[in-house]
């Protein structure tokens, strides 16, 4: 599933190119590269987390994995048991995705401060979608760590991350249609 998703995204970018990773004078700093690469890793982790959640939901729908794991070490208030196949696999990816996304944002803010004198440069609308994605995953981590919502609801929320990442972070990066050959 992850491989198919990667292929689809790669194919779409071939037909709808916007720009490429072109350096400019102010990007001559490590922070600019950290911003880019941490962001890419973060998005990758989010997509993998969503893929695992989709698989979990699909398996649950088919009744393949009805076994559960007790998460007594996590603060769980209203649902002491969560679906093993789903939570066990998507949660670490969501955590790593959030960590890399945060590092990307901080690198970007530091670069922005050193280059432009302010941590938020409003010249690029992508700043809002980056923050939107961050809040979406803050919500997911809080849902999981506090046990708010049912296990199925949380897995469905994690699965919907695929739409958030694609709509907020991939589609704005697409350019007009161009035949590549």
């Amino acid at each position: 599933m992850i491989l198919s998703l990667t292929c689809i995204i790669a194919l779409i970018t071939v037909f709808f190119p916007k720009d490429f990773y072109l350096p400019f004078l102010k990007s001559n700093t490590l922070l600019a590269h950290f911003f880019f690469f941490f962001g890419v890793i973060g998005k990758g982790c989010f997509l993998v987390a969503s893929a695992w959640a989709v698989i979990g939901l699909f398996q649950e729908h088919r009744g393949i994995s009805q076994e559960t794991v007790n998460t007594s070490d996590v603060t769980v208030s209203n649902s002491p048991q969560v679906s093993l196949s789903a939570h066990y696999y998507w949660f670490p990816w969501a955590v790593w995705g959030f960590a890399f996304w945060t590092l990307s944002m901080f690198s970007g803010e530091l670069w922005s401060y050193l280059g432009w004198g302010t941590p938020v440069v409003w010249d690029d609308p992508a700043i809002t979608t980056t923050m939107a994605t961050w809040f979406f995953y803050i919500c997911l981590l809080h849902l999981h760590l506090t046990g708010t919502w049912t296990a199925r609801g949380r897995t469905a929320y994690a699965a919907s991350g695929i739409l958030v990442v694609l709509i907020l972070n991939y589609i704005p990066q697409l350019g007009p249609y161009r035949w590549p050959f």
Binding site: L25, T68, N70, G117, D123, P125, A132
Partner: protein
């Protein structure tokens, strides 16, 4: 906590503000509002560019207040962020107090790591306070041009900045023809004069100079190419006195430290226990699945 018991009304408000459901709702609203913001920014990007230079108050009175169809999302964002900060503070303080009360239940190392998420929460409040301070109280001198030998006085002081020379590094390679003889690294030599005290500083892109509480940033320069069009040498400066910088830089550092603490706790202390439990359960599940499939096949055979 004694205050909470003494004032039942305050206690009730505190309890509502510490609700995790409020956090979830606020996060979802922030996500939706920022997505709306993307659409508005895309339609009218020039409306927001002056925000960094003229500050929030002046921007609200001019650009922000007069085009609400494009800027309403930003005011909603400010309200949501304010609520989010209050919710985060109350929620975290509540849990930190509980954690301190139950400290005897934890081993020392575990107790220390349990604070990591709370460190991140407080750091976020510090970062957002820094941004607010920056947008409210920053003093910005945008685009101050200097030519070699010329100087300017910093406002409210007797101190001066003088451009001694501009010595950029040019691209000398041949592989990228389009960049031939173009500036790769602009480098301005400044003389910072404070009364009798004189000091030389090098100003470059991404390397601002700090002087008398001001941050001096290189905004633009000329010429961009060696021997190009006979353009005169000049540099454009952006000079900022920003009281929020220290707060958001410290906030980011603390947040990162909290995140590292949380990840360390998760990887080294919590996850091995969880993995073992999950793997055992998973193995048990597989055995049971295997047995049930065998039973089914026997039934089919019979």
């Amino acid at each position: 906590m004694a205050i909470l018991k003494m004032l039942p009304q305050f206690s009730s408000v505190w309890k509502k503000l510490s609700s995790m459901h409020l956090t979830i709702v606020l996060c979802l609203l922030l996500t939706a509002d920022l997505a709306w913001g993307y659409v508005c920014l895309k339609k009218n990007i020039l409306l927001f560019s002056p925000l960094n230079d003229i500050g929030l108050t002046a921007w609200t009175k001019t650009y922000g207040g007069h085009q609400l169809e494009y800027t309403a999302w930003f005011f909603v964002l400010l309200i949501l962020l304010a609520l989010f900060c209050v919710n985060t503070f109350v929620c975290t303080t509540d849990r930190v107090l509980r954690l301190v009360r139950l400290r005897s239940h934890y081993k020392t190392k575990r107790f220390f790591f349990r604070f990591a998420p709370h460190v991140m929460h407080y750091a976020l409040i510090i970062i957002l306070s820094g941004y607010l301070g920056s947008y409210m109280f920053a003093h910005v001198l945008d685009t101050r041009t200097l030519i070699p030998g010329a100087s300017m006085t910093l406002p409210g002081t007797e101190s001066k900045i003088l451009l001694k020379s501009f010595d950029p590094k040019y691209y000398q390679g041949t592989r990228l023809a389009a960049f031939h003889k173009h500036v790769l690294k602009p480098k301005a030599r400044l003389l910072l004069i404070d009364g009798e005290h004189r000091q030389t500083a090098i100003l470059q892109y991404n390397r601002p100079v700090r002087f008398k509480g001001y941050g001096i940033f290189l905004k633009d320069f000329s010429p961009k190419k060696q021997g190009g069009m006979g353009m005169k040498t000049r540099i454009d400066l952006s000079i900022r006195k920003d009281p929020g910088v220290f707060l958001y830089l410290i906030g980011m550092l603390i947040f990162t430290a909290g995140m590292v603490g949380y990840l360390a706790d998760w990887i080294f202390l919590r996850r091995p226990i969880k993995d073992a439990t999950a793997k055992n359960n998973f193995a048990a599940a597989e055995v049971r699945d295997h047995r049930s499939s065998k039973t089914k096949s026997y039934k089919n055979l019979s």
